[in-house]
Symmetry: C2
Subunit: 414 residues, 2 copies
């Protein structure tokens, strides 16, 4: 049962605010495990494995390692490399050359698939080893797990920034479209709605990629909200498309996985809004900030990320193999503080599978999320303390004590 | 000398993170002044004045008023209305109808001009009143004053976000262009450089609108920085243009002042970078977040903004008229903590005058700011406390303990 040797850990795909917490969780657990001699880090993910670009993590200054726990983005470096069969074979060769008996891969759907394929190859060989996936994605689109480390912090950025830009739009009495990450899954965009406390608060309309909406309904809803509240804030996923239309993107480029680079939906919608309202409509795009804006880190997210890293190592040492660590919610929906435990699921159950927002968690009109969604997301989004509040931003408004008019109405000269 | 009556206060132009602190500073001082009976707020700036859309601020719940001190964006509402002669005459009529003897206008260059014109009109009439400008602009382009309330918080957002996206770019070994506000003045963009602690830190190149740069030098500098550091972060002002080229903007629209809406310089530069490096270059644009992202508020900025509001009222009551409050630095350049006092300057000395970054505070090559700039800006950018640190974000990197390679180099199959 006991398998002695080295461990290798790699970070893969888009970083998150908390991906280093998972790295340090794993390193801390590896230090405690008698079975693990050295824990190597792969520089720039799979790329570092293939080219034997490895670093010995236990030789690092412990102060640096602890500081990394709250450092955004992948401290080891990451890559979007999609491994081919030859790459997988090379990876196994590298494992053997460096007596790597434990491999931990921190990543999303694509990475969990790579993880599973390496694992299959190892099983077919005579190289005994244990391979574990550590979940990570701001998109929150891995199945089985309650949520994915990285999501809650991105969600807190989206919800906070939406409240902030809404204040600016309200001050002008203007419209605003804020573009939030999410290609096929609208988890982060939906979470932006958790900051809305009363009807006049933003975001008034929330559009996810899961539900195509008719342009005429969009226009109708924008007009109604603007009419009612005197300003308008629309939150939209980068992957949103109108019904029977192509997704909007201003980029003709694709990434390493052949996915089109998305960008420009906010610009496109703002044009529609300006025409509908006859009012200026501004845009903001949170872009890469979702993955690195530490000031809006979720305390739950940091704890989860560290935990899944630890558990991956502990369970591998205990004999588990070809599994991904999952988060299991122990508190009720909507209950705070959020409580969780970690479990395992076979890599095959998550590899390359995307979990989008359930249709019933999006309202019928497709312009907002339901209370069930809010109860799911909000407990995850707890902050780390003042001045970044534990809850989401909430600010007073003037009650307004109108002063009686004394003059005839004024008509501005043209 | 003593002039008894009501006061009116209005917020104008783009909001800031701290513009409400100035409002509350003025309200608090007005409450203390025996000469001021009621302080009215104009709803949506000049627009509210013209249409007598006023609210009685002393009737507001004090808890709400104190909460507004740290609420981003203009609580009274704002507008970009540029007053015509008839508007100025109407404003005076409204002042008379409501016994307004004190008028306070919180704004930037355009607004200080409007303020001065109203003041001139009042002087020519038999309506005795006192008019004071309260400085506000994230652009930091008002002359005479050491700095402008609103700037330091926008600068802290720019510097922080640059550090964050840099971590993401470094993790991938990619390039990034971050677009920062500043049409003619590069103060906020230059301030993004204050977060750079060592050469390999971002931003590696910083481009201000004050200095046109030759495209070939830009390309050369991008290549050199990427070569040296393995990643590249460029910070650029929205108003930047290459030498002998038009400013880049994807928008064909203009604002109420006839200024072209700017946007798109990051996209344009990223195309140049991708061609130069043969590497992906991402973009981010901080956009409206500069004006409202409270989590990166500067503690100095909050204090200054409250102070200039207070002093405007106190000095008006003491008999001053047709002046703008200014910040006078009492600490030395580069010295922290920053200390200041408030003074006055005639409105004519600031109205419609733009202060750009002095040429000698930008390096010769035009790709970064000098130590003098850093010594000017950094003391202003002190944070409000953990977890938003007092200083700027600083994170450890792994020292790196390379593991000896054991295999022949790997060549990936095509």
């Amino acid at each position: 049962m006991s398998l002695k040797g080295n461990a290798l850990i790699a970070q893969s795909g888009g970083p998150t605010v908390v991906i280093n917490a998972s790295l340090i969780g794993a390193v801390d657990a590896a230090r405690e495990a008698a079975e693990i001699e050295e824990i190597y880090g792969a520089i720039h993910g799979m790329d570092g494995i293939l080219h034997e670009n490895l670093t010995a993590l236990l030789q690092e200054d412990p102060t640096i390692l602890q500081g990394l726990r709250t450092t955004p983005s992948a401290a080891l470096g990451t890559s979007r490399l999609k491994p081919k069969q030859a790459d997988l074979e090379r990876a196994l060769e590298v494992f053997q050359a460096h007596n790597v008996r434990y491999f931990f891969y921190i990543g999303g759907n694509d990475s969990q698939l790579a993880c599973h394929l390496v694992s299959q190859l190892a099983l077919q060989s005579d190289w005994e080893m244990r391979i574990m996936g550590i979940p990570k994605t701001i998109d929150n689109d891995l199945p089985i797990t309650d949520n994915c480390p990285g999501f809650a912090s991105a969600a807190r950025l989206a919800a906070s920034a939406t409240q902030f830009v809404a204040k600016d739009a309200e001050a002008f009495g203007e419209a605003e479209v804020i573009e939030i990450m999410g290609r096929h899954a609208g988890w982060v965009t939906g979470a932006a709605q958790t900051g809305r406390r009363e009807d006049r608060d933003a975001p008034h309309l929330v559009y996810l990629p899961e539900v195509p909406v008719k342009p005429e309904e969009f226009i109708e809803d924008c007009r109604a909200a603007y009419e009612q509240y005197g300003y308008l804030v629309v939150a939209v996923s980068e992957g949103f498309a109108f019904a029977e239309s192509e997704r909007v993107t201003t980029s003709d480029k694709v990434d390493e996985f052949g996915h089109a680079r998305l960008s420009g939906v906010a610009e496109a919608l703002s044009g529609v809004v300006e025409e509908a309202l006859g009012k200026r409509c501004r845009t903001d795009r949170l872009g890469n900030l979702h993955r690195c804006f530490t000031y809006t880190a979720s305390a739950v997210d940091l704890e989860e990320a560290y935990g899944v890293g630890q558990v991956a190592v502990q369970q591998a040492v205990a004999g588990e193999n070809n599994q991904m660590v999952i988060i299991q919610r122990q508190s009720a929906a909507g209950e705070e503080p959020f409580r969780f435990s970690c479990g395992l699921t076979p890599l095959t159950s998550v590899a390359d599978i995307e979990r989008t927002v359930p249709r019933e968690w999006i309202n019928e009109r497709g312009n907002g999320v339901t209370q069930e969604f809010i109860d799911y997301a909000k407990p995850l989004m707890r902050g780390t303390g003042e001045p970044t509040p534990l809850g989401l931003p909430s600010y007073p408004r003037l009650a307004g004590h109108a002063v009686e008019r004394k003059l005839a109405p004024y008509v501005r000269p043209k």
